[in-house]
């Protein structure tokens, strides 16, 4: 019985409050906002692989281990790395570490964060971070990259907007680094602009977050966005893939006030140029798609496309009508799993249908769901499905 009693004792024990608890707790919250665990792992010891167009990067160990982590950093070293992308000794970090966003963190937040990271359990784990292809593996190149693309301008407060909007602008463009995924990239991997109009990423399409009605969040309310970020699901969509991790490690642990701020800001973004509009001249595809949808999809998503309390709707679901169909093609072929959070613990999954549906059938179904029930988006071609099928098979 001893172990049981020990467990209970541990559960009931009052944790001693360290003197600097306040800054540590605030720092922990900064780590949450910054989604550090998303790349550095739950234990922050790194080793998470990141596929980039330039090769593979592996996240570093940011626990306070002296040999393999950042245990030898000073507070100043930490701030330099976070805001300038420069590690001790002048080593240039790659912008997969989103220092262009973290550059907006104020001094207080950085201090809190540092104080928290010092309290994390040190893990001895050596990481070979740089597995990029030549010449991208030469860190010296980052000097030029920074010169060209790294011009952090302070996020200016707009007194004409609400406090929530301003907080949202700071979070989205600063520590929460939404643009790292949702802003289109140029050929150097830098944000083309700060506009969150969506982009392809690791075999997914990171959605358009602007106010466009079909491709963006135009049809979502502030409450929809808050629920989505806070729980991983709303009546409009569910988070899966890379966004599932963002929800799990970051947004689901953020305060309601911050989530509301993000939502208020996003809802105020001007619409993008949209997704290219409804498919035209696709009667044959639509007809075949309707039949196939009825057989393969309706039992969960409903003939009316409205989904249910457990399954996401396809009607009015912005993920369905993005300019590119990467995410939904992938979902149909390989299946998917929604994030599970403490407030929405179900995490339902979509089964893989790639074994059953050929490229034409997938294209027909998706063209149909992208252009039915009020949805409007360009057709999906069998070639697109074939290309994505190939890339999923090869695991890239």
């Amino acid at each position: 019985m001893k172990t049981i009693l020990k467990t209970l004792a541990a559960a009931l024990a009052v944790v001693a409050v360290p003197a600097a608890a306040q800054t540590v707790n605030a720092g922990k919250y900064q780590v949450i906002i910054g989604d550090c665990e998303g790349c550095h792992g739950k234990d922050l010891a790194g080793g998470v692989e990141l596929q980039t167009p330039f090769g593979k990067l592996v996240s570093s160990n940011i626990t306070p281990d002296k040999d393999t982590g950042i245990g030898n950093y000073s507070a100043e070293d930490f701030k330099q790395a976070m805001t300038k992308g420069v590690a001790p000794g002048g080593k240039r970090l790659y912008p997969a570490m989103p220092y262009p966003y973290y550059a907006h963190l104020d001094d207080r937040s950085l201090t809190d964060m540092w104080n928290y990271l010092k309290t994390v359990k040190p893990v001895k784990k050596s990481i070979n971070v740089n597995q990029l292809r030549f010449p991208y593996n030469l860190r010296i190149g980052m000097l030029g990259w920074n010169a060209m693309f790294f011009h952090p301008k302070p996020i200016v407060q707009d007194p004409a907007k609400s406090a929530a909007w301003n907080r949202g602008a700071y979070l989205v463009n600063g520590p929460a680094h939404c643009g790292a995924c949702h802003a289109p990239k140029n050929m150097f991997g830098a944000d083309k602009s700060t506009a969150l109009t969506g982009t392809s990423l690791q075999g997914w399409f990171a959605s358009d977050l602007t106010g466009d009605r079909h491709a963006g969040l135009g049809a979502w309310s502030v409450a929809d966005i808050v629920e989505y970020l806070g729980t991983g699901r709303s009546n409009r969509s569910m988070a899966s893939g890379p966004m599932a991790e963002v929800v799990e490690y970051s947004t689901s642990q953020m305060s309601n006030a911050d989530l509301t701020a993000i939502a208020v800001y996003l809802k105020d973004l001007p619409p993008s140029r949209g997704n290219g509009g409804a498919a035209t001249g696709v009667d044959v595809q639509m007809k075949a798609g309707a039949v196939a949808y009825d057989i393969s999809c309706a039992a969960c998503h409903g003939r009316d496309g409205k989904g249910s309390a457990i399954f996401p709707p396809l009607a009015g679901n912005a993920n369905i009508t993005q300019v590119r169909a990467d995410t939904i093609v992938r979902m149909v072929l390989a299946g998917g799993k929604a994030v599970a959070t403490p407030t929405a613990p179900t995490g339902p999954g979509m089964p893989s249908l790639g074994w059953r549906l050929n490229n034409d059938q997938v294209a027909n179904i998706l063209t149909y769901v992208r252009n039915n029930w009020g949805n409007q988006a360009p057709a999906v071609s069998p070639e697109t499905v074939g290309r994505i099928r190939g890339s999923l098979r090869s695991g890239s």
Partner: protein, 243 residues
């Protein structure tokens, strides 16, 4: 149907990969903690059988089985016959696979004669039962009619099958495997082939489902649940989406 051992090993792989990703320390085997395992393309979708050739039967056996399934399910205005529907191909593929090898069953001895309430107690696998049964059937028809079963007239074939069904004909089999049991095995397997999903080799063009009005692999009848005593308007669908 996939061979169970292969199914198991793929599933094992999946579970262990998931375990590696999620598990901190602890015991061997498939230890899962902290998350619900999931991976893309997970699952064991069935693979359609190759419709060509014979995997288990020799040509004589195949011809006999084709004749038998056509007597069990004669072609008429309701449906094509058992042979045209692929029932013999279905049985062949089943016997060549896990079913034929009795791989699911308890096959440890001692094998002793049992009571009817104790079920089949023979030591032969289904594949072994067909091999022995078809040989004994050939012996019987050659002795009685001087012909192989397949060369008999339809009436004679029915006579033999009815004799086995009714216990009037006893083939030379072996203890623990009666002629009636052989008949029941063939009838059961023929009906399986006729009514199972076409991917297994029988029920070609979903003929049996169309015959009785079974809509097959459809998964949602919410729009018809309250339409009492009204015919269901949609035709069948197969697992591979054939309509």
């Amino acid at each position: 149907m996939q061979h169970p051992s292969r199914a198991l090993s793929r599933r094992s792989l999946l579970a262990s990969a998931a375990a590696m990703a999620v598990l901190a320390g602890s015991a061997d085997g498939k230890s899962l903690s902290g998350t619900v395992p999931w991976s893309p393309f997970a699952g064991e979708p069935p693979r359609p059988v190759n419709p060509l050739g014979w995997y288990f039967f020799n040509p004589g056996e195949a011809a006999t089985i084709e004749a038998i399934v056509d007597r069990f399910i004669p072609g008429d205005h309701l449906s094509p016959g058992g042979k045209a529907c692929g029932c013999a191909v279905y049985i062949d593929r089943q016997l060549a696979g896990a079913f034929g090898q009795a791989s699911r069953l308890y096959m440890k001895g001692p094998f002793m004669p049992g009571l009817p309430t104790q079920g089949f107690q023979g030591d032969l696998t289904p594949a072994g039962r067909y091999r022995l049964g078809l040989r004994a059937l050939a012996d019987y028809t050659n002795t009685t009619y001087k012909k192989d079963f397949r060369a008999l007239t339809a009436e004679q074939q029915d006579e033999v099958l009815a004799g086995l069904d009714g216990g009037k004909i006893t083939l030379k089999l072996k203890p623990g495997f009666s002629s009636k049991e052989f008949f029941e095995l063939m009838l059961q397997n023929t009906m399986e082939g006729f009514f199972a999903d076409p991917l297994y080799g029988g029920n070609k063009n979903m003929a049996s489902w169309k015959m009785i009005g079974f809509p097959g692999a459809r998964y949602d009848y919410r729009d018809h649940i309250d339409k009492h005593n009204q015919p269901y308007p949609n035709g069948p669908v197969s697992i591979y989406g054939q309509v």
